[in-house]
Amino acid sequence: MGLDKYQIAQRIAQEVKDGYYVNLGIGIPTLVANFVREDIDVEFQSENGILGMGPFPFEGEQDADLINAGKQTITALPGAAFFDSAMSFSMIRGRHVDLTILGAMEVAQNGDIANWKIPGKMVKGMGGAMDLVASAERIIVAMTHTNKAGDSKLLKACSLPLTGVGCVKKIVTDLAVLEIRDNVFHLLERAPGVSVAEIQAATQGELVVSGTIPEMTL
């Protein structure tokens, strides 16, 4: 069966550690904020210019001047700061952001990521993703294991235009938690009820399975 998008976010939230500054991409990554333990201190950055981003506002409290990089209405927590784009990318390029969580259309076994453009399809641009993947110390990709056509998104080599080269270390999908090491995917955990064979079948790139693979705990 595999995880739904909330469960993927829930599993990724376990990777967020006390004291981290975290940038969340659009989609499943945005949901991660809802599952981070309340006893740890984490600050969320959105590259359009806020550090200390809070949850979505209560109905009726939306502010047109307070949005995240995905244009969604947000709130600012006590201690938050606003800044312009140049400062935001100084933060990112200066490697002050500890963890970047983002979605992807393809990830290759050497850590390449493609997440911005399908040739022939109109997009507004890659946004902050290129800088984020090139600069973050830790990058976690949140995505489904296969696309809507059923094709694997974990590949030997990306076919789409790249966002970043050799930068992805960890991937959490609806089926598994994987790590990229020595130019191959390593299977770390299975989603509850999902077999190693199912993960193997959904992975086009080289997948190393060593020992017994535990089920992830949510």
Binding site: Y6, L31, N34, S46, N48, G49, I50, P55, F56, P57, F58, E59, G60, E61, Q62, D63, A64, D65, L66, I67, N68, G70, K71, Q72, T73, I74, A76, F82, F83, D84, S85, A86
Partner: protein, 97 residues
């Protein structure tokens, strides 16, 4: 390896700020700061629209985001309709799930 993109110069920058004074000093609000301060000074003529235009000397110099030297025209807009592209909210009892 590096990529150097040379800055390009525009004839006009159009920016929107929250408050401004008659000397052209600007204060932005929330995440609406974004690219606005960076575009001031990127053009020969920066035109700033503000929600509230006050006499020079009224704003606290400590709070100014963009000094007036980067702003050549300023005016107070009217009939603001603040549209939101993606309304995302949570309910009071449970999370966004």
């Amino acid at each position: 390896m590096h990529v150097l993109e040379h800055a390009f110069k525009a004839d006009f920058s159009f920016v929107k700020a929250w408050k401004g004074d008659t000397a052209g000093n600007l204060i932005f609000k929330g995440t609406a700061r974004n690219f606005n301060p960076n575009m001031c000074g990127a053009a020969t003529i920066t035109v700033a629209e503000v929600e509230e235009l006050v006499p020079a000397g009224t704003l606290d110099p400590n709070q100014i985001h963009i000094p007036g030297i980067f702003v050549q025209r300023i005016f107070q807009g009217a009939h603001y309709e603040k549209r939101i592209e993606q309304q995302t909210t949570r309910t009071r009892n449970h999370g966004p799930r």
